[in-house]
């Protein structure tokens, strides 16, 4: 007889507690959702602002901003093809140099390094990411460029006779696409290496032991069991490094030679989109010039977007292959 009201009471209490929890959950959910929405909203807002500002230039010069090499502010001609070319080529050169180095460092740290050495080397590599880009630029001007001009470029061109190929021909002045690629490689290296090291360390022990048990040498174990397991993570790291390289401005401006010309030689000076904006924005007064620089910013935005999408697709392809 007395049990029924008591039971009802405890049921109410329980519901109350459930409701309270639900309200807390709800608030938390709303807060985190808001945080998550801020980012895409920001990206979209930036994209809209840039494209709106770039519109007058797109309307006036049309597709020639992408296809033409004629950038003459005085004549109102804005062809940014050399800058687009330079952004892509310098980043690709950077990845070609940085990837083997960074993955090598990561493999050494996760597979071969004595434990006491792992921390200091890892720390030093990560430290590369903390150096301001203008410092890399200064180093580039005072150390890298003279080294390239006096030693590396003559060696590649004359001693190795690579001068016969268009890639390494022409006079060696120092400031060049190659210099930009090397600076960018150093800047992208810590990103690739850090991510790769973490994913390599996360490869299960059993994976390694299984390979060794099957009679694999250490090298075979790394090549066939460890790296394939970590592949999508390593590619993710490379793409992070590529993102860094595409957008880098200051250091590149200081060593690339700033010449708006497409050249097949890595010894020739070039230009990047980010450098073009940084160089010309401060003194741009005509509306069309400003708008054209905004348009270059918009193109850089799109190029970055495409590269990132391609990277996602690549990672997805790789991880799907492994699952099959």
């Amino acid at each position: 007889m007395t049990a029924a009201p008591a039971q009802a009471l405890s049921k109410d209490r329980r519901r109350l507690r459930v409701d309270e929890a639900a309200i807390g959950d709800r608030i938390y959910e709303i807060l985190t959702t808001a945080c998550a929405l801020v980012i895409p909203a920001l990206v979209i807002a930036i994209a809209i602002a840039i494209f709106a500002a770039a519109w007058p230039a797109f309307a006036k010069v049309g597709l020639s901003i992408v296809t033409s090499s004629d950038w003459d502010v005085r004549a109102g001609k804005f062809g940014a093809a050399p800058a687009i070319f330079g952004t892509v080529v310098s980043s690709v050169v950077a990845l070609i140099i940085a990837t083997p180095l960074a993955v090598g460092v990561a493999v050494f740290l996760s597979e071969f390094s004595p434990t006491w050495l792992r921390q200091p080397i890892g720390f030093l590599v990560d430290l590369l990411a903390a150096v301001p880009s203008v410092v890399y630029g200064l180093w580039g001007i005072f150390v890298l460029l003279p080294l390239l001009r006096e030693k590396v470029m003559p060696f590649l061109r004359d001693t190795l006779h690579l001068g016969a190929t268009p890639l390494f021909s022409g006079p060696a002045y120092g400031p060049s696409m190659l210099a930009a690629g090397i600076i960018l490689a150093i800047m992208a290296l810590p990103y690739i290496s850090s991510v790769s090291r973490e994913v390599l360390l996360a490869v299960p022990r059993s994976q390694r032991e299984a390979a060794l048990a099957l009679g694999a040498t250490r090298w075979e174990m790394i090549r066939d069991a460890v790296i394939p397991y970590a592949r999508s993570g390593i590619i993710g790291g490379i793409m992070l490094g590529l993102g860094r390289a595409l957008g880098e401005t200051m250091a590149v401006t200081m060593v690339i030679g700033n010449r708006l010309e497409i050249s097949s030689s890595l010894f020739a000076p070039g230009y990047t989109m980010a450098s073009l904006i940084a160089n010309q924005f401060g003194e741009a007064t005509s509306d069309l010039h400003l708008s054209a620089l905004m348009a270059v910013g918009a193109i850089l935005f799109v190029v970055t977007l495409i590269v990132n999408a391609a990277a996602r697709w690549l990672v997805w392809q790789v991880s799907r292959d492994r699952a099959v």
């Binding site: 200081m254 000076p269 924005f281 007064t285």
Partner: protein
């Protein structure tokens, strides 16, 4: 249109932060360390920043009037003045008619403050005496038509100098700058071929060469590369002891740049000025036996009709001071002062600034 401006400002702020980290850093630290309110704000050219900041600090010591100046570049100065976000602008090149027409606050007064000059610096190991150039030779080099140092056109100008059989590497500014404006203005005036092929501007389409950022970038590249030639500001070249060329002026004299030779160029040009000039004048290739030909004014830009009478009065007082006491400080910082007569006519012009606004 609104979004366009917001984006322009945002990108602009980023560009400034990247490009002028040290300048804006010093500017903000001087203004914040005072702990007092700022009376006037200005923005613009980086080239006269050392002398302007000297003026502002001396003036604040003498009168207590604080002036905050951001050296964000001439283009930025003109834009901010046009949008009326600063009390005055500063530029190394005069505003175009189109830019003046767009300024929101009405007619803009160009007030010349000091003079600057470009010098030609080069790296030729073994050549110790100052090389001599004609305007035509400079234009030919920077157009890539004279390719070797031992070209007959250079050798005939420099008898007795052992010019090497070496390629010439042209180094120019990659960033838009008043320095480039002065240099290309000079070549446009002195060489018809340059005028049709390239023209003048804060950035132009260079026929040959490498682009380097800032005076220090150009000087660094020239210093490092045997056979290189470039142009930098006189003050920068003097402070860094760069080798500089003697250049033939309109009277046929070969002149090495100096503060006195630059002031002489202004005096030569000022003689021919009509009384009602708006001071938007170029003094490149100026007449006068002692005139250095690659010289230019730098200007402070202010509205003819001031919106705020109190601020307007402070600005006019400062400019009067700058054009008298301020001019005396210029030489020590390697800026050429205005010729005395001209400084006085510019001060007369300041009286035409309209301070009648009530607000």
């Amino acid at each position: 249109m609104r979004a366009y401006k917001v984006a322009a400002l945002m990108l602009f702020a980023v560009a400034c932060a990247k490009g002028n980290e040290n300048q804006s850093g010093t500017a903000s630290s001087t203004s914040s360390s005072s702990g007092q309110s700022v009376d006037l704000t200005g923005a613009g050219a980086t080239f006269p920043y050392p002398i302007y900041s000297k003026w502002f600090s001396e003036y604040a010591n003498n009168t207590g009037v604080r002036i905050n100046y951001q050296s964000i570049g001439s283009g930025g100065g003109i834009r901010q003045l046009s949008e009326e976000t600063v009390d005055f602008g500063a530029s190394d090149s005069p505003m175009s008619d189109e830019e003046v027409a767009k300024a929101k606050g009405g007619p803009v007064l160009h007030i010349p403050t000091v003079l600057g000059a470009d010098v030609i610096t080069y790296n030729l190991p073994g050549v110790t005496s100052a090389l001599k150039f004609t305007p035509e030779a400079i234009a030919e080099i920077f157009m890539g038509r004279i390719k070797k140092w031992n070209d007959a056109r250079l050798a005939s100008l420099n008898p007795g100098v052992a010019l090497p059989n070496q390629d010439i590497l042209v180094v120019h500014r990659s960033d838009g700058s008043g320095t480039t404006y002065i240099f290309t203005d000079y070549l446009t005036t002195a060489s018809p071929a340059w005028k049709t092929a390239v023209g003048k501007g804060k950035e132009v389409k260079w026929p040959v060469g490498l682009g380097a950022k800032g005076n220090e970038g150009v000087a660094g590249q020239v210093k490092q590369t045997p056979g290189a030639i470039g142009y930098v500001e006189l003050a920068y070249a003097k402070q860094n002891n760069l080798p500089v060329a003697a250049i033939r002026n309109k009277s046929g004299q070969f002149i090495v740049a100096s503060v006195a030779a630059v002031t002489a160029a202004a005096a030569g040009a000022a003689k021919a000025l009509p009384a009602n000039t708006d001071y938007r004048i170029s003094i490149v290739d100026a007449p006068g036996a002692d005139s250095y030909p690659i010289s230019s004014f730098t200007w402070i830009l202010a509205y003819q009709k001031q919106k705020d009478a109190v601020k307007g009065k402070k600005l006019v007082d400062f400019l009067n001071w700058a054009l008298t006491d301020g001019e005396k400080m210029a030489g020590a910082l390697d800026y050429a002062p205005l010729p005395a007569e001209m400084a006085s006519t510019v001060r007369d012009r300041l009286k035409t600034i309209d301070l009648s606004a009530t607000k």
